[in-house]
Symmetry: C2
Subunit: 307 residues, 2 copies
């Protein structure tokens, strides 16, 4: 099996996960969990969003989290930036982060429901954000939601996804994430899109963001890997990721991906045992069982019996 | 992506699932669920085990289930046979089933803990069972547990797995299942073993049986498929499959596999919507939420919103 030797993992649980919890997690707990994550060998982490507090009260403490978390050599810190105003707020602590994560949807209906803008309006806004962020020395990552299917529109044309991606690349975005927001992707589709991506988006780092909504998260990771993708977003503990309908899973769990990668001989730089310990801590903080499989069963090297 | 056009699914939930529930499910409920499963387009089902009632009380009604379930044109009915005595009991209703499923482990320690015999002793017993079953016109399927790793011994040498499989083939077994009993398999390993299988076991149907213990169940299905495997065992609702430690998942859910296969254009003959309805019924009978993802989220064609 032809696989990359090393892949990059961007942990998005502190943003995508904490945002989707019904309760607001205490700032001190957030900071502690982030500081634990950055001591696992993880190299990329998205820690919060600079969205308006009335829109997502769970992340109202974004500026404080950014201020309090430890900055660690070798760990790239990203924040989610919804718009120019959010960017300005984040840039008040410009030395505390490295990357601005931006987002829009590949389907008009999903984009409208999510941010109340057409895709064209979103792109115009992002153009301005990217210009400002780059002028401030920030690397820009744009994630395209519903790249593999939309819950309202169904099939999403890959040509449309690449069209949007090319426009973002034209603004100066260095990395583009293709996100399967509601878990509609299948491995054959994933293989096709990720195989085409380097030609469609030369010089752009392509990242995969899969959800495990229909249990196909790791299969989609495998298909993307085989097609040459070497960058993945995921969430510790299987936190977050739009768990809808209730009881559904969202993001694929970082430790489930990392376990699979390591077992296949693909390196991530992450210490899986430490990572599982952070997810166990998150479980205690949140007070419910998290969906991560490796969290429950233990890594393969512990044998089949867990601990 | 090179994939088979059609794959065979053998549903093992009524045996592997009901056996692993802490409560004994009422015979009438078992029969109703089996009768619903055989109306979904499913072609192969393992309905019970002829194990001693004191060993697995959950399946003490095996003979009655076999007697009461509806026989349906086009549905191959299998029963698990632990030994010659179990086979003799099953053959009292010889016209009610088609296949005898046999099992042993690829690791000595697991085999000893599971059936209190060495592998050599198990093989000697199976030789006799296969001879009798074939004489009675039954097709024989042997499943080799811990083919991808053992919770006690760790790594299992594929050469040893194939050695055992070749011995079984020599007895007249028509189909051999390679089972990842405690969810230790990874896709690279799966690809290697399933790619080698047709050469090692010419003329034998090779079946894959994966567990989702570490969240890699569908990734392993994908890897096996890509290596040419076209026969899978799985369990509706994600029932059963040695969920250990508590809270772990066992078998990969039939509806999660079928969803992925159909989305990739691989046919199974199964009506996914009907299948999900049976799992929902099982959930009501058992009285707890089952692990199947598609059961919770709904098939992709329902959109991202479930029902």
């Amino acid at each position: 099996m032809q696989l990359p030797e090393h892949v990059k993992i961007r942990e998005v649980g502190p943003r995508d996960g904490f945002q989707n919890e019904p309760e607001v997690i205490a700032t001190g707990d957030k900071v502690a969990l982030i500081d634990e994550l950055t001591q696992t060998g993880l190299t990329h982490i998205e820690i919060t969003s600079f969205v308006r507090a009335d829109v997502i009260p769970q992340l109202a403490d974004g500026a404080e989290v950014l201020q309090r978390m430890q900055r660690r050599e070798g760990v790239t810190v990203g924040v989610l930036i919804p718009n120019q105003r959010g960017l300005e707020n984040a840039l008040e602590q410009a030395d505390r982060f490295d990357e601005a994560s931006l987002f829009l949807s590949a389907s008009e209906t999903h984009n409208m429901k999510n941010v109340n803008r057409t895709i064209e309006q979103s792109l115009a806004g992002l153009s301005e954000v990217v210009t400002t962020a780059r002028a401030a020395g920030k690397r820009c990552v744009a994630v395209i939601s519903t790249s593999f299917g939309c819950p309202y529109e169904g099939h999403v044309d890959p040509a449309r996804v690449f069209e949007i991606a090319q426009e973002l690349a034209g603004f100066g975005v260095e990395e583009i994430g293709l996100a399967d927001t509601t878990g509609m992707a299948n491995p054959a589709q994933v293989a096709e899109i990720f195989a085409a991506a380097p030609t469609k988006l030369p010089g752009i780092e392509i990242t995969a963001h899969f959800h495990n909504t229909r249990g196909q998260g790791t299969a989609n990771v495998l298909a993307a890997l085989q097609a040459g993708c070497a960058s993945f977003e995921s969430s510790f503990g299987e936190l977050g990721g739009c768990p809808f309908p209730p009881g559904s899973t969202g993001n694929v769990a970082t430790e489930d991906i990392v376990s699979m990668l390591h077992e296949m001989g693909v390196q991530t730089g992450i210490d899986l045992e430490k990572y599982v310990a952070v997810s166990r801590h998150a479980q205690a903080v949140i007070g419910r069982s998290l969906g991560s499989h490796v969290l429950r069963a233990g890594p393969v090297e512990w044998g089949g019996t867990g601990r």
